[in-house]
């Protein structure tokens, strides 16, 4: 009898399945618990990958719960590509639909933030523009300027205080999260992504810029939300962290 990889694979991911027939200890005894070595390797290595990617989720629900949830997740969503740095893309959606934890409403968005940091860490390097490139523009060109951002720059918007939750769990002495919606900009000046809490109008402006809107339109959208919005502060943050990689100006298309 042939132990096909379909049989092996099915039994590997489902511990309730019997060990396939045709496997032995090399001395004529059925393989029995030896098959569990492969089951354990698969489950523990993938769980470890998820622990590395989602440390705040693990803290929020506890290490044991995280292991249990990882066990369910990895059976429903095994990796699709052989690169663990990309594993866990489905985790936020999985958490959002996971009934036993639905009372922790901020869990999925916190996972989205952790995932954004992982994506940022591995994103392509890109040379930033210089602040002078922007300062050299005429007011007219400034108004019609559009930006391209580094692939490592990512915006995460949430109705929950995800910045506060992240810092409270990952940084000693950080204050308790406030009861408010938060938007977080992930920026990676060199190798380590860091988190920047954006005001609501700044997040609106950033969202518009990332969608390819002109600086003028993005600024108007932010001012519409809050007349006190200060564009210079946001631009200063982006320039200081090398987030803008291309500047297109002079066209009104």
């Amino acid at each position: 009898m042939s132990v096909t990889q379909t049989k092996f694979h099915t039994a590997l991911l489902d511990p309730d399945q019997p060990v396939p027939l045709g496997l032995s200890d090399g001395q004529g005894q059925p393989a029995g618990s030896r098959f569990a070595v492969y089951r354990n390797n698969v489950a523990s290595s993938l769980t470890e990958a998820l622990e590395i990617s989602f440390p705040v989720i693990a803290k929020l629900i506890g290490a044991e719960n995280f292991k249990a949830i990882s066990g369910l997740f990895l059976r429903q969503h095994p990796p699709k590509v052989p690169m663990l740095s990309q594993y866990g893309d489905d985790m936020p959606a999985f958490l959002a639909g996971f009934k036993p934890l639905e009372h922790i409403k901020y869990l999925a968005d916190t996972a989205r933030l952790e995932q954004a940091m992982r994506v940022s860490y591995h994103a392509a390097d890109a040379a930033p523009i210089d602040a002078h490139d922007l300062q050299a523009l005429t007011p007219e060109d400034m108004a019609t300027a559009r930006f391209t951002f580094a692939p490592s720059a990512l915006l995460v918007r949430s109705p929950w205080p995800i910045h506060g939750i992240w810092t409270f769990n990952m940084q000693d002495g950080a204050p308790k999260p406030p009861a408010t919606a938060q938007s977080v900009l992930v920026l990676r000046p060199e190798f380590d992504p860091d988190l920047h809490l954006l005001s609501e109008p700044a997040a609106i402006c950033m969202l518009a810029l990332m969608a390819g809107e002109t600086l003028s339109n993005a600024n108007d959208a932010a001012l519409n939300d809050d007349p006190e919005f200060d564009l210079a502060t946001l631009l200063g943050l982006l320039l200081a962290h090398g987030a803008i990689t291309q500047l297109k100006s002079g066209d009104t298309a």
């Binding site: 009898m1 042939s2 132990v3 096909t4 990889q5 379909t6 092996f8 694979h9 590997l12 991911l13 045709g22 496997l23 032995s24 200890d25 090399g26 001395q27 005894q29 393989a31 029995g32 618990s33 030896r34 098959f35 070595v37 492969y38 390797n41 698969v42 290595s45 993938l46 990958a49 095994p78 990796p79 699709k80 590509v81 052989p82 690169m83 663990l84 740095s85 860490y121 591995h122 994103a123 392509a124 390097d125 890109a126 692939p151 490592s152 990676r188 190798f191 380590d192």
Partner: protein
Amino acid sequence: MLDTPPKFPHLPAAPGVGYKPQHFGDITTDARPVEWLEIHAENYMGNGGRPLAQLRHLAENFAFSVHGVGLSIGGELPLDRAHLARLKHLCDWLQPASFSEHLAWSTHDAHFLNDLLPLPYTDATLTRVADHIDQVQDVLGRQMLLENPSSYLAFDESTYAETDFLDEVAKRTGCGLLLDVNNIFVSATNLKLDPHDYVDAFALHRVGEIHLGGHDEDEDDHGAPLLIDSHGREVADPVWALLDYTLERSGPRPLLVEWDANVPDWPVLADEATRAANALQKVAA
């Protein structure tokens, strides 16, 4: 792709270690006695950031071995062409001295299982593995090495001894072999074989690299010893003895210490590399 010849075309018959990012500072300061580094290919397939920056820096001073853990050469289904293209991209820019993969499968039905899973040794699997290796060598434009696995069980349907299977694959494809001495010890213990017989039967003239690593000890249902290839501790004394037995027959080879779990501080790993250097010294011409 670079037009310049590779800076390090061959792995030296000297100690190497599996590269871990936490050792970057130690290695760039003083790597002795380590002369070359091995990476798991799949950890360096991102688009940028620290992993690739470290690799570019280290490649100036060290020969590299790219060791794939996700190609699923023993898989029943066709090789993942997208993944093979990623391997080619990595090998083209890094220009490693060696590329190796495992006699194992890890992907099935579009699921990557992140383990080196076993296959039966039959005429059918021999043909399939040889076809896959032909394809890999064709795409990468280089010879690859194929590594012997750690086994926890055996397939009733197998008709080849593992050593014969590997030798036949190498004959058909022209690939070289990577001999993992810890895997021999683990498999021989688990399947109650004599590890020396395995070494005696192995096509040592095809070996381009030797691996060493630590294993954990467990038991099966019947209380028989069951060793787990964990790479999470020092190389065991009987494995060092088996290395000596192997080197006496093979002569010096590039010799890698793997430590992938519970990764220690650099001095502990460097001590293992020193022990490897001493083993090589004993058989130096």
